[in-house]
Symmetry: C2
Subunit: 400 residues, 2 copies
């Protein structure tokens, strides 16, 4: 069957036919709920009270607003195969996949209407007491079991072949690791921070350190990483956490995933200077965010070491001296990438609601400059940090 975009009229019966979820005679309602630019998203729901529902996500070959922007449909293969893999190795931490249609580039998956996107939850000042534990667990399992430590090296190389993802890697190479460090035409720099932003463009120490992290992103096939694990790629409720949108996945450095979530937590921390500015709760919420930041690393590294100790038996890799050397490098990478992910959200094309939604230009500039300064410290000092407390010190000691 040739590729054809679904509509609100066709998506319901499509879901009934493909996924074994709905009863045969139930009446279905269907709504297109996507707000993205490259995908159609439908919710299909049985009309009966307590009826079941699913989400259909279908990739489009071009942008919704501009058909001249082409996006390779194959990204849907990567995304769906990643979600299937996450269903296996990180159970309950990603949406359940019911069906994947390779011809239609459509995935039928669990409806997460009860969840909100983590970024929005944090902007609202919500507490997610299990977030650090879930993210730490997700990172440890997804990274360990797709690395040479937790996967047979022959199988890993076969998977690596399948997950080569040049076009989406290029987006990251440009938007995260290049454009913020020169006068790129698609940078978005508020006039209040222009001078500070331009300082990075002549900062050879910073630029060289970013180039090293870029090189690592482009060459180090350490594990099958999500590739875009910011707070907008996580759905949450008070008790549950689901990681989604892994279309940027490829074999890259583990620290890029860990740093993505860590850096975005710090951006939210800084943005609370505005969002909770009149609240008694500000300090406590920022403390919660730093606890989450610490917890993600602590739980990740604890679980990762547990997996290592319980399952690595090969002569070279079971050596604890090597394991600790590995963990230290992983830590440095994670902090460096956290820095890179912060800076790109301040001066690059794709910014974040946490900070963009601050209407007061002066407060916004203060927060943006703090993000750039802390980002620089993370990137330059990454090898010199020996504990997550040192990193938190850099954030806490920053004069906001």
């Amino acid at each position: 069957m040739a590729y054809e975009t679904l509509t609100e009229k066709t998506a319901g019966e499509y879901a009934r036919a493909k996924a074994n979820i709905f009863s045969k005679n139930s009446e279905l309602e269907c709504k297109e709920i996507g707000d993205g630019n490259l995908n159609l998203v439908f919710r299909v729901k049985e009309k009966t009270p307590g009826g079941k529902s699913v989400i259909i996500k279908q990739s489009m070959p071009h942008a919704r607003i501009d058909k001249s922007i082409i996006a390779p449909l194959e990204r849907a293969d990567i995304e769906s195969e990643m979600l299937v893999l996450y269903n296996q190795i990180t159970p309950n931490l990603s949406p359940k996949i019911y069906f994947y249609d390779k011809e239609e580039y459509a995935i039928i998956m669990e409806d997460l209407s009860a969840y909100i996107v983590l970024r929005k939850g944090l902007i609202r000042g919500n507490l997610y007491p299990h977030l650090a534990e879930h993210m730490g667990e997700f990172l440890a399992r997804s990274l360990f079991f797709t690395s040479d430590l937790g996967l047979d090296p022959l199988k890993k190389k076969a998977m690596q072949k399948k997950f080569i993802n040049p076009d989406l890697c290029k987006i990251t190479e440009d938007l995260v690791f290049s454009n913020p460090y020169f006068d790129a035409s698609n940078n978005k720099i508020d006039p209040e921070i222009r001078t500070r932003a331009e300082r990075n463009w002549v900062d050879d120490e910073l630029k060289s350190a970013v180039a090293v992290l870029k090189e690592k992103f482009m060459t180090q096939g350490q594990a099958l990483i999500h590739g875009d694990l910011h707070t907008g790629s996580v759905f949450v409720t008070a008790d549950s956490t689901k990681i989604f949108d892994p279309e940027f996945a490829f074999f890259g450095p583990m620290g890029f995933d860990i740093g993505a979530i860590l850096g975005n937590v710090i951006l939210n921390y800084l943005s609370q200077e505005w969002h909770l500015k009149n609240s008694d709760n500000k300090k406590a919420y920022q403390r919660y965010l730093l606890d989450t930041f610490r917890g993600i690393w602590m739980i990740f590294s604890h679980r990762f070491r547990e997996l290592w100790n319980s399952s690595v038996t090969t002569p070279m890799e079971s050596n604890p001296v090597y394991r600790e050397n590995y963990m230290k490098r992983l830590f440095s990478d994670s902090i460096g990438y956290a820095g890179c992910k912060m800076a790109r959200r301040i001066v690059g094309l794709a910014q974040v609601e946490d900070i963009r939604s601050i209407p007061d230009a002066e407060v916004r500039a203060k927060v943006q400059i703090a993000a750039l300064d802390i980002s620089r410290e993370f990137i330059i000092q990454r090898d010199k940090y020996y504990s997550i407390e040192d990193v938190i010190g850099t954030v806490q000691n920053y004069p906001l």
Copy 2:
């Protein structure tokens, strides 16, 4: 056409039909000259004086001596595509390829009968005055033009997919980076050096450093490397150098190729304690070998920087601070891998004629222990060397 092994009877007309080399009516003679275990090698020659000749190399699906040892025929794809690539990017430094037959897994290439294998030439004490220049040039061009520096990153990733080479990588992972560091059943350890060899098995500092280099070998897709660039993979005459046998090629760390040739030059240097023991020429020849060792790195790094300066214009990578950081890491990697390549030839399965041909057990043991000691220095100290002179110092100061 189904795969069929060639014979002395069929190879001649096969070559005439496939490669546009021989005249239509010339009489051909053909001889099987392979001494390897996994390939058939034929020389086909016109009988007329001054007649042309070619080599046919055909891969076999199993070992010649033991049909139960299976070798994937696809290695011939990798080898021939690499040689075609070398013909393009390192002209005159590899045998010319006339034809590659994907069905027969056969390559028809330039006859290099006038050449000898570099390892044998060095054992004989021959001087190759252009060797350092040719190897430096080969390394610079082959590595630069297959890295993200000299190749479009999108194209590089497409090539990387093609050159994923799990089975042959596994051989290296085991024989170079694992087995020498524990009591592996296929190690070959002379009784005279058993105590010294066993010392490495409990040397956690050394084993951890090797594990880091192993990890880099398994994960860092820096450039399309030859993968087995010892002195047995190079043909030489007094004026000419040809690199061959790239069947281990994959996207790996550049330093692995550089270190392979450097480490094998040092093994030959040490072996001259025997081969030239009664010759006035010993010191001079060892000096020539260290000059070659130095020259390979100096010319490689000079040419690599030249290519960088003349062709890298991207904002992040054209930064000279980054370039020098890159060159320093490349240097450390190369010395570390040189160390790994030395040790595996002393205690591992595949040893080298330079040392194995020393009949005197006492001298051989002295040379072997020197190789293990220097190898350890190379591996442990690799980040602390700042110039090739420092590395040469380690070799020269070793009390032989």
